[in-house]
Subunit: 244 residues, 2 copies
């Protein structure tokens, strides 16, 4: 097999940049988007390896952890104004980080000393973000060839404990859906009731009766109804709504 090149200069710089960051601490971002009635997450595929991973990074020694998470999100999505929440810390002693980092360096023919900061134990802070799918411009990082949306229903093989992190993020999203109405962050500025209905059904993974759903949403007093959407068939055109 022919190896894809990585940018050696960037890679070496990263391997030697441990002093910039808080040691033993990382963050991982589960970025949710909604498209064609599918809930998706933004993943990176490693160069020369059949593994995908969540976008993540480290925290500069003089940086708030939230600012670090926003920086990682901006680097991968191009977006700066994102709904973002911490949801859990992953700190088991036996998280598989070290062995995986070895594989990444080996396949890319990079050398690092055994005490390289990347081979240490990492406690990772999990953030989930909700973005308007249409606004994201996915950007791979140094070690990845692709940064792309993947349907939650069809996840590829994931590195580290990233399956577990995604699962926990999804549980948090589900639990927050009614209480904090976070779902609106996944929709464009204007949307139809049908789109909102599909979004809730998809996130919750369960059918919701359309009439009940519409009644409940309207009763919350959070939706503003706009003009009819033009579809050519005037009598069938659905109303557009926006979040107040």
């Amino acid at each position: 097999m022919t190896l894809m090149d990585i940018d050696i200069e960037k890679a070496l710089h990263y391997l030697q940049s441990g002093d910039k960051y808080l040691p033993n601490l990382s963050l991982d971002c589960v970025i949710f988007g909604f498209h064609h009635n599918q809930l998706k997450v933004l993943l990176l595929k490693f160069k020369n390896l059949d593994f995908w991973a969540l976008p993540g990074g480290h925290i500069l020694k003089d940086e708030d952890i939230e600012v670090a998470a926003l920086r990682v999100l901006a680097e991968r999505t191009g977006l700066t104004n994102i709904f973002l929440e911490q949801f859990s810390v992953f700190g088991n002693l036996h998280r598989e980080v070290k062995s995986f980092m070895h594989k990444v360096l080996e396949i890319n023919q990079l050398q690092a000393p055994l005490d390289c900061w990347l081979f240490q134990r990492f406690v990772s802070i999990g953030y989930y973000a909700l973005v308007d799918f249409s606004k994201v411009n996915p950007q791979p990082d140094t070690f990845s060839e692709v940064c792309d949306w993947v349907s939650l229903a069809d996840l590829p093989e994931l590195a580290f404990d990233h399956s577990e992190i995604i699962q926990k993020a999804l549980e948090t999203l589900r639990a927050s859906l009614d209480k904090k109405l976070v779902g609106f962050n996944l929709l464009p500025t204007t949307f139809t009731m049908s789109e909102l209905h599909k979004l809730y059904e998809t996130i919750l993974g369960t059918p919701l009766r359309r009439n009940n759903f519409q009644r409940k949403m309207l009763s919350l007093g959070i939706l503003e109804r706009l003009e009819k959407k033009f579809t050519g068939a005037a009598n069938k055109a659905p109303y557009l709504y926006k979040f107040k």
Copy 2:
């Protein structure tokens, strides 16, 4: 003023034990108890200073973060089987840890080098725990003179950002009360409907109509009704319940 002695040997051992722990990382535990219709938290009062703080600690290099939290809880409460959940990470760059640690050492006439691990930046993982008040045997640590329950309605001056941590823990407890029925962890094994009612009112900080509350709780199918509690006035004796 006469200073209270601290155990110098233990204190020095602690100052020199930085190598044992993951650097820059701490944990703080908000331990809730319910007594005399008051929601309380377990706090430590520093020796020779008018500040209180949450029980907390550090994570051994070969220890899961959850195990570290359970260790801290066991040390302060004597309990080993505790309801415990992570709720947030506190990682602002300007958390006031360093200046406060200087005060603690100074008042106790302890010297530490400027690069002592305790003067570094700390990112703290917040856990909240719910315990049966009657079973706790509070134990101060090296730098504290008292470990005691304090009513949330009447908190003393707190060190670090511990007011903020308690506030966030309370918000999480309130949000989890209905969904996860966590409140039962705060009650003894058996309790009256009136005690359960008071617990919910106290945590939520709002009156709840007694009949509605009782109907709702019974409808959940989670309570087992036991024999009448003996009070001397047989016809007024309330039923005892336990959580199924």
